[in-house]
Symmetry: C2
Subunit: 260 residues, 2 copies
DNA sequence: CGTCCACCTTGACCTCAGGTCAAGGTCAAG
DNA sequence: CTTGACCTTGACCTGAGGTCAAGGTGGACG
């Protein structure tokens, strides 16, 4: 009877304010908008004041203000209101910058799924042309991803090291022979030879040995080094043996190599 | 005993990957990263493969990919991977645009807490200089907010109408007398006079009466009109009477005024 | 040997801004 | 009288983890 006198229903109010019914009730539950009077059927009837408040709340919420903050905000004086707004605005700006950074990361990802920056991808791209086995390249890709996670601050010099190594035909040759060595027996005498040649090659280029010193200054060095170094070696005992021999020779020559 | 052999602990793995322990376990629960072997104490021991996977997941998650999608994504072939990535990138771009729009809204809010666009603020700012009572201006501000929520498509012409009204000294004078009238008795004879003058003034400017025709084409016209019109009048019977008289006169002159 | 501290384990519940479902009451039109 | 659109409440669900509780484990110190 008294149906249309008191005001509009929740559905109309929600539609006018551009929110859902559930959202309006949510605001009631949080105390952001007072519950209006009910009509004889128990329906909420909204007047212009309620609508005004609803619009204010919705506008702030749409701007990204936390619902928990809106109540105090709307009931505060103009000065605190302005201060809080600029605070929220700053947080929004930060979030935008964050999202832009994420998008850029993603954009790099879509060029190559290896989760690596351009320079590292370039190094990997050179490898097949130099005669490296595709599986070896894939392994190096994984090692780079791992290294980047474990030693982000040393990543650039690690890539630089790789670049220099690829410029040295002897090293390229030795590396490819090491890859072939995986199929040898662990006690094959050629392994010791290969280890000697590798160690000599490394010792001839002191700048390549500088990097370990750099990342030795960080904590957890042994764990990180071991992680990168043993990656992919678990099921290849020959590789583990080769690595151990090279490390021994380097240590014998006075180069500090962390033990894992 | 076997403590340090199997790999690193969850805390170290989490630190290396740049996430929390809880996050790593969350990934396990979702099946994104396989649970590694446990040591004799029941601790999870992570190897390089686990770490690699963890870093891949974290990188995608940090780029905003839903965790639920990451599993299929990482196990998919390169083609679908690339397609999905560009999809995610598009969504990120949309979100950024959305946030920028929010920030701009907020920026306008911080200039004036009235939740109104610049043009409407300018109109309100003119009012005190023309001699309007600050309380009246506040009421107009509320009416504008309400109008914008209820009739967004008619808001611009509503503001235009207000601008024209403020340019007419006679209308300004009549409006201010209407404000004073709030303190009169509802049966004060001056009210009828005032209503006549107001109606005559309105009828002399046909362009001001065009707006109601425009927003009469929308549904719920009566409810919206009534909402805006009766806002703030509940506790002022004199105002209601004045409005009713003016509406009667307009209707008598052939102008269609919706009845609420 | 005891004790402390840092780390690990599981499980249950909390967050935010609502969405979804269920079960039923109310109103206007055909 | 039925249909369909609207309203009511309440309980549970979402995503991506965070927080708390209660207890096990390992290493260092005295």
């Amino acid at each position: 009877m008294n149906r249309s006198a008191g005001g509009i229903t929740i559905g109309q109010a929600a539609a006018f304010a551009g929110v859902t019914i559930k959202t309006v009730r949510h605001y009631h539950k949080l105390g952001l908008v007072e519950e209006p009077e009910r009509d004889s059927s128990g329906y909420r009837r909204y007047g212009s004041d309620d609508l005004l408040r609803l619009v204010q709340v919705r506008t702030l919420a749409a701007a990204g203000v936390q619902l928990a903050d809106i109540g105090t905000l709307l009931d505060a004086d103009a000065e605190r209101f302005a201060a809080a707004l600029s605070d929220v605005e700053q947080r929004l700006t930060d979030r935008i910058d964050d999202l832009v950074a994420r998008r850029d990361t993603l954009h790099r990802l879509s060029d190559d799924r290896a989760l690596l920056p351009d320079r590292a991808c370039a190094v990997l791209d050179r490898m097949p042309g130099l005669g490296f086995d595709p599986d070896y390249v894939a392994g190096q890709r994984e090692a780079l991803v791992l290294f980047r996670a474990l030693v982000p601050e040393g990543f650039d010099s690690f890539v630089t090291q790789l670049e220099h190594r690829l410029d040295d035909p002897e090293f390229v040759d030795l590396t490819q022979r090491s890859w072939d060595a995986l199929s040898w027996e662990p006690d094959d005498p050629r392994i010791a030879e290969l280890a000697s040649a590798l160690a000599d090659n490394l010792l001839a280029k002191p700048e390549l040995l500088a990097m370990p010193a750099e990342f030795r200054s960080q904590p957890d060095t042994a764990a990180r080094y071991g992680m990168v170094n043993t990656h992919g070696q678990e099921e290849w005992p020959t590789s583990a043996r080769l690595t151990a021999l090279v490390e021994d020779k380097l240590r014998a020559a006075g180069v500090p190599v962390p033990r894992q």
